[in-house]
């Protein structure tokens, strides 16, 4: 097994062995369920519209959960001194980052997919396409991966988990609110800010059941840039 997968497996196991993972999973499922009942099912709507609203409301808890899952990834290693174990092993820094990220992503994916009973209820009682379902979940996973990437970068910059969560959330909110900047700036900046908005510019298509390559590429790019920066931070730490 490669070093990255070994680290990913340990990380995934860590979420199940500690209360943190269970609390985050339970919170996401509870909030998603509440939002689904309170808003998605509200009033008389067509099944497709209910599913679209489900994905819209599920995206918020997914992003928040990603930041909380990511906050421990590297900040905790620094706090506990276990980063020295990884540094002293014949493992590349990028494998450390990738392993940590994949472990958290696997957990987040599991939690996200555990919400599938809600869309299935719509499927049983109404008319929705499986394509819409798959596109929505693909969007949630890509949005979650990008949020996790930003959270991982925050975790690499911080000395403790609280600070890591704050930095991760700040990075995430900056990208989320880019659309606000777009509305108050002149071209070409308005177009740039509109294009990099994490949710507004790229998630609505997924929640409506459409998959556009540009949206997939955007989320993958955000994830890659965040993980690349994290690797650089980790490399730089060897000098300090």
């Amino acid at each position: 097994m490669s070093a990255a997968l070994l680290i990913a497996r340990r990380e995934l196991g860590g979420y199940f062995r500690t209360m943190t993972g269970w609390i985050i999973a339970a919170s996401v499922l509870l909030i998603d369920g509440l939002l689904f009942n309170a808003f998605a099912l509200e009033g008389q709507r067509r099944s497709t519209e209910v599913l679209t609203r489900f994905f819209y409301f599920a995206s918020g808890p997914t992003m928040v959960a990603a930041v909380f899952l990511a906050m421990r990834l590297l900040a905790e290693e620094r706090q506990l001194g276990t980063l020295a174990l990884l540094y002293a092993s014949p493992v590349r820094d990028r494998d450390i980052v990738l392993g940590k990220f994949l472990g958290a992503l696997a957990f987040l994916s599991g939690v996200t997919l555990a919400t599938v009973y809600m869309p299935l209820l719509i499927l049983v009682h109404g008319h929705i396409s499986v394509g819409h379902l798959l596109a929505g979940y693909l969007g949630l996973l890509l949005l979650g991966a990008a949020s996790l990437g930003l959270g991982t970068l925050g975790s690499s910059l911080a000395r403790n988990q609280i600070l890591a969560a704050i930095i991760g959330a700040a990075l995430l909110v900056s990208l989320l609110l880019a659309w606000l900047l777009a509305s108050v700036t002149e071209p070409p900046f308005s177009a740039l800010f509109a294009a990099i908005a994490l949710h507004n510019a790229h998630f609505p298509a997924f929640q409506a059941g459409q998959v556009h390559l540009r949206d997939v590429a955007y989320y993958l790019l955000v994830t890659w840039v965040a993980l690349f920066a994290t690797t650089r931070v980790l490399e730089a730490r060897r000098w300090r």
Partner: protein, 311 residues
Amino acid sequence: MIQVEQLSKYYGARAAIRNLSFRIDSGEVVGFLGLNGAGKTTTLRILGSVLLPTSGTVRLDGQDIFTAPRELKARIGFLPELPPLYEDMDVGEYLAFVAGLRGVDPARIRARVGETEERTGLAALDDERISTLSHGYRQRVGVAQALVHSPEVLLLDEPANGLDPVQNVEMRALIRSLRGDHTVLVSSHILPEIAQTCDRLLVIRDGELVAQGTETELEQRLGVGTGVELEIAGPVDAVATALRGVAGVRAVTVQAANGGRAVLRVDAPDTLRPALAQAAVAAGAQLFRLDVSADRLESLFLRLAGRGGAA
């Protein structure tokens, strides 16, 4: 085996270590001695690839560990000052994870974990959650993780840190048992602790290597090791005068006196012990104890590593 040349590490303008050069041969157990803040941990972290130096090289069998393939790192085992433990894992599970990271053949991992647990006295704790272990056992798990991939070189940073006397003795025995199978560099700020364990000592002060050699060589070089202690009952002043009369004695001080007994410290070569015993008894003393002064190592340490000390 390990060749360190002109190794320096600066944090801004402050030098944590400066131009360190030393060599450790295969199979040696070498003590790395210095006060807190002398630069021991920085040096070991660099040797363990956790930290990069500002300048200088570290070679393992001629290969620079900073530019050589990653696999070279698998030949080194490192126990940092704070054992790097995942507290949510069981002991066996943790060691298997570390073995995997260090490139042990997956088919051999279980066997290696078992062997390492046997060697470090952890066999009964394989299923134990690390967070529930006492400080002494956590330290052992720290040593076990450094050993699990059977590295040629072991770097142990203050392995006896915070251990009680019994655990301390066990840790020394464990380190002694590594002699021959591994090349070991073990740091400490307590000389008696590593003097009993190591073949040779490297002494670091304010980031610079100030002395190296065996304990005896260092004592001879510094003229330390000349203290003899006597515990007696009887006429203390008369005995002290008699001892001062023995050729080769430079000074006699009464260090403690209670319950009718007194401890006299004689500044003299320890080869004079028979003559000192005779003189004390002839002066009317009942001799309860005569041995090399207990503060000999302390004195050597202060001379070597103490701030402003003369090396």
